[in-house]
């Protein structure tokens, strides 16, 4: 009797602690319940697949964006890198037949994205140009490069295996979200469980203190941006396989979604705060809101308004919560 009661109390206080620590998770769960009631098809296998596939690219980008934002940086070039690596990868796939071409395409895309990330990192860490400006510049450069490489034309002739990867699922999980999940788990471990991860937080909280305590601040900033570039290239490949074509402009504005996801998850643009796990909750919240409002018949016009309110609301509540806690 007694133990049962205390167990239940334990569960309740555990739940309360969970809700307190993650308001986003709470809102997410409530939204899922509400949408399931409003639109029974919401929880159908088909719809869960649609929802997860629609957030796969943003999820991968958000992993990289989380690292960058925790160092008090920002990566605005992600969307342009998605477009550029997509067309570079798809173009390279046509150079060799069969699986050799696919491997070549993947390698070319990943090298391109990593190189752009490295450039962002080096410029941010070793010049006095802020990350915002550096990546705004590379956003423009890479967007132009993608159009230049293709002459503005999409690349359609992709190996059949590429699209079948992008459209198929394992159970309710589309292949492309599985890639995102694996990368998110790796990112979470890297950020939360390693010395490198701890130094990322330290740099974001106080770069001078981090440097004085002997952390390789510049090198770590380069690493963080390189990681974001690499992950953007993965995003470019996932998007290409999902849409069965590579469009030079396909990634436009994706960086805004990834920044929104990190911020909704509690990441601070001033650095030092955020986790990959909570950014993923932000990604899911955006996805659930878009898909759910779609299902119950809210127009796409209103959806962007709702998303904007959620972004501002999330940061407002978060800052309010912190003030109360202090």
């Amino acid at each position: 009797m007694n133990t049962q009661v205390s167990e239940r109390a334990g569960f309740r206080s555990g739940l309360i602690a969970f809700l307190n620590s993650s308001l986003v998770a709470a809102v997410l769960i409530l939204l899922v319940i509400a949408f399931s009631l409003a639109a029974p098809a919401f929880m159908s296998t088909n719809n869960v697949q649609t929802l997860l596939a629609s957030v796969a690219v943003i999820a991968v980008l958000s992993v990289g964006q989380t690292f960058v934002i925790i160092t008090a940086g920002i990566d605005l070039s992600q969307g342009a890198v998605v477009g550029l690596t997509g067309v570079m990868g798809a173009g390279a796939m046509g150079l060799a037949p069969g699986s050799g071409g696919i491997v070549l395409g993947i390698v070319v895309a990943l090298i391109t994205g990593t190189a752009v990330g490295l450039l962002n990192g080096v410029l941010t860490a070793y010049t006095r140009v802020p990350a915002f400006i550096v990546t705004l510049g590379t956003l423009s450069i890479m967007g132009g490069a993608a159009l230049l490489v293709t002459g503005g034309e999409p690349i359609y002739m992709l190996p059949a295996a590429v699209n079948s990867f992008g459209t198929n699922s394992v159970g309710v999980f589309p292949n492309i979200i599985l890639v995102s999940i694996v990368l998110a788990v790796m990112g979470h471990v890297l950020l939360g469980r390693t010395r490198f991860g701890r130094s990322v937080y330290a740099i974001g909280s106080n770069p001078r203190a981090a440097a004085l305590s002997g952390l390789p601040v510049r090198r770590n900033i380069v690493t963080v941006f390189t990681l974001s570039g690499f992950l953007s290239a993965v995003g470019g490949l996932l998007l290409t396989s999902y849409v069965n074509s590579a469009l030079p402009t396909a990634g436009q504005n994706y960086e805004l979604d990834s920044i929104a996801a990190v911020v909704i998850g509690g990441g601070s643009l001033f650095g030092g705060q955020g986790t990959v796990w909570s950014s993923m909750l932000g990604v899911l919240l955006i996805g659930v809101l878009n898909n759910g409002t779609d299902l119950v018949g809210v127009s796409s016009y209103s959806q962007t308004i709702i998303l904007g309110c959620v972004v501002i609301g999330a940061v407002f509540v978060d800052s309010f919560r912190k003030r109360v806690a202090v």
């Binding site: 509400a34 018949g297 509540v317």
Partner: protein
Amino acid sequence: MSGDKNDKSKSKIGSQAFCRAGVGLGIVAAAALSGAAAQAGPQKTIEFIPSSNATPYFLREYAGVKAEAKKFGYKTAFQAPSVSVHVGKQIGMVYTAITRKVDGIILVPYSPTALLPPVKKAMAAGIPVVATDSTLTPMDAVTFTAVPNKKAAGAVANYAAKMVDGKGEYAIIDYNLSTTSGRARRDGFKEAMAKYPGMKFAGLRISHSIPQTALNEATAMLESNPKINVIFGANDRSALGVAEAVKRLHLKNKVVVVGFDADLGEINYIKSGYIKASVLQSPVTMGKTAVDVLHDIFTGKTKTPAKYLPLPFHVVTSKNYNDPKSIDAIQQYIADYKG
């Protein structure tokens, strides 16, 4: 004491969580009300999913869809990516329409291959799909209704070439090279121009249906290459920017601007002679035709509709814009246009 404080702040935080959730629930509840109405009764629903909401053309097409659907007692819905290049979003919208079990889909596919898997899935689920304006690859995947884009662009190319006596250089400002219509208009214009040995191709730029981009691109081309005497703006947004560029550079009498489609801004440019000619489609008829195809399928009148239903086009010029035929054509774009 300190424990007490902690508890207080905790409960405060908890209540905030619920406040915030309450806002979310409010949105959902409001949405659910409108959604519930859509699902009630056997009334059929047709969803229109154009490639973007940045082009007024598709809003006029939706007006046609709505008018014809009302005639048959169908409900309609409109979903469009707010950024035209978000083909991933358009794919998601088609999948969501399938999940919502709409009865028919009218689509303007942004990419001929990207939209193929979701369209196939819709048709496998018994939801007929009609492509309008642009289509899919392979072309026979769905019923497609549009103007013959290639031929129409060729007609306006001929008009422009004759105005400059077949001598000079021409440039194209296209809205994208992803949709089949964007590619067909470029090809049609170039093929017609190829018949004039004195006309040289000076280049193509993409506006993404943003007039400001079309203006910048056209300005840059005209300034760097003074030999250009013909520019083709391949849709309403593109032609508008091109005409603006020609106006600002005071090249009205030197450069022949021809376009595709029309809105109020373009009509004024046609009247004032900055745009010499424009191909007018019939967006309202396009929407109505697509609904008619779906209606025939719903009522069992036809099981396999024709694969291609061509629509008429009309070339409006700075000379004939007051003809009854031109006024009729313009009314497809501007409902209350009187001439």
